[in-house]
């Protein structure tokens, strides 16, 4: 007997509209109560469902809470609070001889004109006079700042010093100690994290503080102290010190403030009263609860903002606006994620249905409508979804709260309580949506419960509907179309929308596939045959699990194909800087008198050093031509370039970089570019070209051109553009050199001349020196690199820093990518999802198969049958999911290959390639895909086999 009542049974008697609503509400309330008890009774399954849904939703809510909280710490109110600390309750910022007005956060304040407007001028009182204004019943401590210069190695830093008696309890909370402790004597200081990182001085080392001269350089030494710890205050790049460290040090009124503890919290009217006496201050209670009638950072009187005033700060706000196409893509990705969560939770609800089948049948037998039956399942989804949502918010709060304990490490002195903004509720409700979506199909099937079948213990499963498969095929086709359009146009929105359609279509096809597998599996070995047929018989949970695995495999496959194609493109267009194994290092002269630089001596020193550390290494030397040159009193820029190209610095004095195909602009990453003067060894080390005629060319003053386009009629034309101080072109001169072509795809130089080639005057001085070291056979690349680093470092030290290495020594190791980890993680993630989905379904299958296994035992099945059956079930779910996923994933994979696909275009000789939309690189990482399609199911089966007990129920009691 199937219940065939209409969806909403019409009421027998006319019922008033409100009565209908009330009855509806009442029946939901009953269903929810039952669901709540039921969830509690079956704790472990409930926990599982909540955990599945919770994980992704908790990530979202945590991000939201973090962003909100972090925004709060950027607010004026919070920053005012940071300056008050935890012990004081107010802070006096300034004092005047006349009544003043201020913003609630004291970021804006001034004295008042007679007519009550903010004056644009004001006179600070001397520190002692302000001190005298402080009411005697206030407990106060004074803090002030000064500026000094400190040195570390070659560099100097202008920094603030915050001076105050850090032993005073009122200071508590204005510093967050990361390491060591706060100073207690004038000879101790603390640094904040940023300053400590910049100075690179460990705790315990001495620090000399110098005065700042007019140019901001270090002047007289003012005092010396030991760095006793690292502590962050409200201002970064600040030294915390005790009074007495700096001579004559009292601070000016501008830089002095007082931390105050008042007998009772200061309200806005208290502040207004102190304003009348000339004091300007912030108070914790006003910052947390600012007066309603004025903005926190706008000067404000008793009941209204002041009409005008000196520059009011602008409240910072984060702009979350998005382009519509980005929003669409993001929404589609969000839907995909939601779908995945729902699919993962789906099997659990299928079990719930199975477990409650008898209850449902009894409800049905006692007159429950299909709506009642559906409600029974949906209400338990609602309960679990709400629990997951609530837990997600709690977890987010807790994570942000606990994360706050680490705030000092990131340079913050305080971290507020996590902020729960209204939208966090909306984010958390995603959990409810996912749960209800997961329960939707089980609920529909519950609505069709066949009472007699259910009471007899048959498995709940709707009939296979062919139109569903048809719809699925249609969606797959439509999705493929959208993806294809997106792929051709290399445009993300239709790809993501297509992917969503495609994914849904695949899921709708899965029931049909499961059925087909069961029907086609007649020749399979017994356990697999049983597993495939049982999978089809319990189609609902199988479909959910297979779809979950397939969705994960589609994602992984698409990403793998996209990434592999991207890598293929990159490595295809990869232009090395030198031959493999060669170490390059660039050294530049940083001394004050460039004309006194002696590159030959520097290179000789390097050679001597390397002869010891890398005996047998070949060393080539090249120098950059063109650059800055002193021309009379004016500094002019001289750059070599090809005649048809604009001057690289023509626009607003900023260098153009390699964006033009034919012009000789350098990539910002490489010091040598354009025209280079090089010896044979350098030329050979970089290009690998050892032809004698090339050597001869370099020796006889011919140029070697790496870029075919630069060579015309056996000559290369080079232009010298001189710019004046305003960046205007002052003069252009061109010279032609005899040249020959050597088309090597090398990033960096485009034209190479020999050491003896004389170039016209005004071509600028030879600049950066590049050494190319070919290590002797034997040591591996990285040790040669280390040796070159050491040698150039020693050169820098030996010349007092006049010769410095720019960047690090570079080892040419061919195309490198560190994607293996990412790709491995993708496969592992798919495995984790497959394990989860397949094993939870296998556990259910084992429960359902209990009587069958007992029958098999009676017929003489060996004890291991249960394990074999479990492994086969896991194999069916994971195998079907992975194979479908990998095959289906090739379509979006192709799209991603087009999209991310190395939109790479070679930049021509000497210039790095750059990305262009669309790519023809389509590389399928077969090994990885095989690992997903075959490896993951096998591992899943092996895990199922390992963790299933082989004991099968031998005897059974049928009476």
């Amino acid at each position: 007997m199937t219940i065939t009542a209409p969806e909403e049974a019409p009421p027998q008697r006319p019922v008033p509209a409100t009565g209908g609503v009330r009855r509806w509400w009442r029946s939901w309330r009953v269903a929810l109560r039952v669901a709540r008890r039921d969830a509690w009774r079956d704790k472990w399954r409930s926990l599982l469902v909540v955990a599945i849904i919770l994980a992704p939703v908790a990530v979202l809510t945590t991000i939201d809470v973090y962003v909100r909280t972090d925004n709060l710490t950027r607010s004026a109110a919070w920053q005012g609070m940071e300056r008050i600390g935890t012990a004081a309750n107010a802070r006096v910022v300034a004092g005047f001889t006349r009544p003043a007005a201020q913003s609630p956060d004291a970021s804006t304040y001034s004295t008042l004109t007679r007519d009550g407007r903010l004056s644009d001028w004001s006179t600070d009182l001397a520190v002692l006079k302000v001190q005298a204004l402080l009411p005697p019943e206030w407990r106060t401590t004074r803090i002030w700042t000064d500026t000094v210069t400190v040195r570390s190695g070659q560099s100097e830093w202008g920094v603030n010093v915050a001076v105050g008696d850090t032993r005073d309890p009122l200071v508590a909370g204005t510093y967050a100690v990361v390491e060591g402790r706060l100073p207690v004597t004038p000879s101790e200081v603390v640094l904040d994290t940023e300053l400590a990182n910049s100075l690179d001085l460990p705790v315990g080392s001495p620090l000399v503080l110098y005065s700042q001269d007019q140019n901001g350089n270090a002047g007289q030494p003012l005092g010396q102290a030991t760095i006793i710890g690292i502590a962050n205050g409200p201002e970064s790049f600040t030294i915390g010190a005790m009074p007495g460290l700096l001579p004559g040090d009292a601070g000016t009124a501008m830089t002095t403030s007082w931390l105050v503890e008042t007998p009772s919290p200061l309200t806005w009217s208290d502040i207004r009263a102190q304003n009348q006496r000339g004091l300007v201050l912030t108070s914790r209670s006003v910052l947390t609860d600012p007066p309603a009638f004025c903005a926190i950072d706008q000067a404000c009187m008793d009941d209204a903002p002041l009409p005008s005033g000196p520059d009011a700060g602008e409240a910072g706000s984060i702009n979350l606006s998005m382009r519509p196409d980005e929003a669409a893509a993001l929404a589609a990705v969000g839907m995909l994620a939601l779908l995945q969560v729902a699919l993962m939770a789906g099997p659990a609800f299928a079990v719930s249905l199975r477990r409650r089948q008898r209850d449902l049948a009894l409800i049905g037998a006692n007159g429950g409508t299909p709506t009642d039956l559906r409600r029974a399942i949906l209400s338990s989804a609602l309960v679990l979804g709400l629990v997951a949502a609530g837990t997600a918010v709690a977890v987010a709060w807790l994570i942000v709260r606990l994360g706050g304990m680490l705030a000092p490490r990131f340079g913050k002195s305080m971290w507020p309580n996590p902020v729960l903004a209204p939208e966090v509720v909306a984010v958390a409700l995603v959990a409810v949506i996912a749960a209800v979506a997961a329960a939707w199909v089980p609920a529909r099937i519950a609505g069709r419960t066949d009472v007699l079948h259910a009471l007899r213990g048959r498995r709940p499963s709707g009939p296979l509907r062919h139109w569903v498969a048809g719809l699925g095929a249609g969606l797959v086709a439509g999705g493929t179309g959208l993806i294809a359009i997106g792929a051709v146009l290399a445009e993300a929105v239709s790809i993501t929308l297509g992917l969503l359609t495609f994914q849904v279509g695949t899921i709708l096809l899965v029931p049909w596939l499961v059925n087909a597998l069961a029907r086609g599996g007649r020749r399979l070995p017994l356990s697999l045959r049983l597993a495939t047929r049982d999978a089809a018989r319990s189609r609902m949970r199988t479909v959910a699990a297979v779809s979950a695995v397939a969705a994960a495999a589609i994602g992984a496959t698409a990403t793998l194909v996209g990434t592999a194609s991207n890598v293929a493109g990159r490595s295809h267009f990869y232009a090395p800087r030198a031959q493999p194994g060669v170490v390059l290092a660039d050294i530049t002269y940083a001394g004050e008198h460039p004309e006194r630089a002696d590159p030959e001596r520097a290179v000789a020193a390097l050679r001597a050093q390397l002869a010891e550390s890398l005996p047998g290494a070949t060393i080539g030397v090249a120098r950059q031509l063109g650059g800055y040159a002193a021309n009379g009193n004016q500094n002019t820029t001289v750059v070599l370039h090809l005649p048809d190209c604009p001057h690289p610095m023509a626009e607003d004095g900023m260098p153009l970089t390699g964006s033009s195909e034919d012009c000789m602009y350098s990539s910002p990453n490489y010091t040598l570019s354009g025209v280079v003067r090089a010896d044979d060894q350098w030329y050979a080390a970089v290009t690998g070209d050892t032809r004698p005629e090339m050597r001869a060319a370099l020796a006889t003053g011919e140029a070697i051109v790496l870029d075919p386009q630069a060579l015309q009629d056996g000559t290369v034309e080079l232009a010298t553009t001189t710019l004046d101080d305003n960046g205007e072109t002052a003069s252009i001169r061109t010279t032609a050199l005899p040249a020959r072509l050597a088309a090597f795809n090398i990033v960096g130089p485009r034209v190479i001349v020999g050491p003896s080639t004389t170039l016209p005057k005004g071509w600028g001085r030879d600049g950066t020196v590049s050494v190319a070291v070919v290590p002797p056979a034997g040591p591996d690349g990285s040790s040669a690199q280390a040796a070159v680093e050491a040698a150039t470092g020693a050169l820098s030290a030996g010349t007092g820093g006049r010769w410095t290495r720019s960047g690090h020594a570079y080892l040419e190791a061919g195309y490198q990518d560190d994607l293996r980890v990412v790709l491995g993680l993708l496969v592992a993630g798919t495995l984790a999802l497959a394990l989860f989905a397949a094993l939870s379904v296998t556990a259910l299958a084992l429960v359902d198969a209990r009587p069958d296994l007992a029958t098999m035992a009676a017929v003489g099945a060996p004890p291991r049958s249960r394990r074999t059956y479990a492994a086969a079930s896991a194999l069916v779910v994971a195998g079907l999911g992975c194979v479908v996923g990998v095959v289906a994933g090739l379509v979006p994979g192709w799209a991603l290959a087009r999209l991310w696909g190395v939109g790479w275009q070679s930049g021509g000789a000497g210039v790095e390639g750059h990305q262009i939309p669309g790519s023809d690189f389509f590389t399928v990482p077969w090994l990885m895909l095989l690992a997903i399609a075959v490896g993951v199911p096998l591992i899943t089966a092996a895990v199922a086999w390992t963790f299933t007990r082989s004991r099968i129920p031998l005897t059974r009691r049928t009476d």
Binding site: T855, G860, P862, L954, T958
Partner: protein
């Protein structure tokens, strides 16, 4: 054919199934349940023995011991001269595949397998090739008159058909001991008779049968009836009032 005390008359070695002084105790201490107390019984080839008794008297326990699904606490169980107690779990499974066939009250068949697949299950588990297993299954199904159902799934069969398939499976191969635990319990009387007639026919063809039933009418098909109460044999009739017996005696 048999004496009132048939057990002692038939010595060990002459029966397909021999139980000698078998005791089975579930649990221990004060909660221990004595499911069987010192039961001795022999079933010879061509013989169908009915076991009767109230619910909880140990009938199913007796059958489980006979099929090696359960171990006796004391006493000896032998099937075709093999002492079951001496066999490992795997060997017991092999005994069930090759020597013993079970028929339960219901849920005999695996719903995911067709009739033919259900029947060939013991052969397949024993490593027979699919082809041979299927041929033998067809023969077995033909013998029980269900050849037209070979590719049907159990859910699409009537209860009587399912039980007949189960009997076919119990006999497939060279198995000579059928253990049937209330095989007619879930059937209407007419279908039940049909199933018993089939069982009787198989025994007449040389198999040994042990049939649990609580309907006297069904016990009439047996050569002997053993009555159990509280785990002990309380009575044993040499011959039952079978329709044939009525026919011959009158």
């Amino acid at each position: 054919m048999s004496t009132p005390n048939g057990v002692s008359a038939m010595g060990t070695g002459s029966g397909v199934l021999v139980l000698a002084d078998v005791t089975r105790v579930h649990g221990r201490g004060p909660t221990a349940v004595h499911a069987l107390r010192g039961v001795s019984l022999t079933v010879g080839a061509g013989e169908l023995v009915a076991v009767m008794g109230p619910s909880g008297s140990g009938k199913s326990t007796l059958l489980n011991l006979a099929g090696g699904l359960d171990h006796a606490t004391a006493g000896m169980v032998a099937v075709e001269d093999m002492d079951l107690d001496a066999l490992s779990a795997a060997q017991l499974a092999a005994v069930r595949r090759r020597h013993v066939g079970y028929v339960f009250q219901d849920l005999n068949l695996i719903p995911a397998l067709t009739a033919a697949e259900n029947v060939s299950l013991p052969l397949e588990l024993d490593g027979a090739t699919a082809c041979i297993a299927r041929r033998q299954a067809r023969e077995a199904l033909a013998e029980v008159g269900l050849l037209e159902l070979v590719d049907r799934f159990p859910d699409d069969m009537s209860g009587g058909q399912q039980q007949r398939v189960a009997i076919a499976r119990a006999l497939v191969g060279d198995r000579r001991l059928i253990l049937a635990d209330e095989p007619t319990g879930a059937l209407d009387s007419e279908t039940g008779e049909e199933v018993l007639r089939l069982l009787r026919a198989r025994c007449d063809a040389g198999a040994a049968g042990l049939l649990v039933t609580h309907e006297a009418r069904h016990a009439g098909w047996a050569d002997r009836v053993v009555f159990l109460r509280d785990g002990a044999v309380v009575d044993e009739t040499a011959y039952a009032v079978t329709p044939q017996a009525i026919a011959t005696s009158s």
